[in-house]
Symmetry: C2
Subunit: 188 residues, 2 copies
DNA sequence: TCCTTCTATGCAACTTGTTGCATAGACAAG
DNA sequence: CTTGTCTATGCAACAAGTTGCATAGAAGGA
């Protein structure tokens, strides 16, 4: 289960509560792994039961108490073991591509606004990635030189940036195609 | 459920059996949606029960009989309805990225061979995509001009090609980073 | 005061997806 | 004549992920 490993990595980078983890899964870690808070709480509970994590009840002022999790020795060992195992190259799941191919059996022009919406979502995400890169890695506020963890985080973020740029360029290509089809075959 | 819709699109492009669909999900459709035969058979059964598909028993010589599925009117209506609904932009799930970030807590150099393996897998996939593109869209054997379906299939394939190229370039970037870390910090 | 928002945690039910196994006919190689 | 491969279908058990709902303290605004 990769969510377990993503949680171990995130908690090694910095211990935190389920709520905090959920927030990280909306940003940084979420660049390459998504999870909802329900899923995170469930897995945290199981991992703690398995002795992979330590929990510490932290009372807070002005807020509900939280449970701060950190990685226990067996958790770290489990991560190391996983890092040395080969994993299968990703299988792709791209719903929008299904739609694009399905558009041949409906009105392709009707898909234009949907593709534009997705283009915008990716453009927004790219903007957030670039802002984060400037803040954490390339801007004047960034620590220099970076440690190994920072270098690797930056490399992963560069992957996210490359992915968003590629996707935006492809969606522009798709939009061109849809426009061409509209003028070429006004109606099927 | 996007698998249902992927199956509808594939069966509209060409009717076929569960086995044939499973093979398509290893190539063409598999460029953007993966599924195992067990999953396909189960969903086909459910869709047929719901009246979305027609089934026809086809006796064959030299082979076991097969059940050929094709899309019924309600199935086509369901696809059209889905095409007009907005979908959420994809959430990314990239296990290798989790590993890369996790490498900070182990030996980053140990990850090099794993990343190289993934690079090769993506390079192979790119080769298959390019061969397919030449065969079906850009080569001398390809039908010209393409119909709307062909244009859209080609646009999706171009997305797959762009994805593989981007991933290969990123993995090269990651390999550079891992090599740099090895020389910079010989051992943590 | 009430309404909303933010922090914080979690259960229950359901849907999807994966893994392992099983069957069976036809054909080809050894 | 046995073993392996390809076509062809499927069940059962399990793991993972999603959706809806529920609770609760504190802060801030209408």
């Amino acid at each position: 289960m990769a969510l377990e490993h993503a949680i171990l990595v995130s908690l090694l980078e910095k211990p935190g509560s389920g709520y905090e983890l959920a927030r990280r899964f909306e940003r940084s870690i979420g660049y390459f792994w998504t999870a909802t808070h329900q899923q995170i709480y469930r897995v945290l509970g199981r991992m703690e039961g398995a002795g992979l994590l330590h929990v510490r009840e932290v009372p807070q002022r002005g807020r509900p108490d939280k449970k701060e999790y950190s990685v226990a020795a067996p958790g770290r060992a489990a991560l190391t073991a996983w890092l040395h195992e080969p994993i299968e190259p990703e299988s792709v799941r791209h719903e929008l591509a299904v739609k694009i191919r399905g558009a041949a059996f409906d009105d392709p022009a009707a898909l234009i606004s949907e593709v534009e919406r997705h283009r915008k979502a990716h453009d927004d995400r790219l903007g957030r990635y670039l802002t984060g890169e400037l803040r954490d890695f390339t801007g004047p506020e960034a620590p220099r030189p970076l440690d190994a963890g920072g270098e690797l985080q930056h490399a992963v973020l560069r992957g996210g940036i490359a992915y968003e740029r590629m996707t935006i360029a492809w969606l522009d290509d798709v939009l061109d195609t849809l426009h061409r089809l509209r003028t070429a075959t006004p109606r099927t």
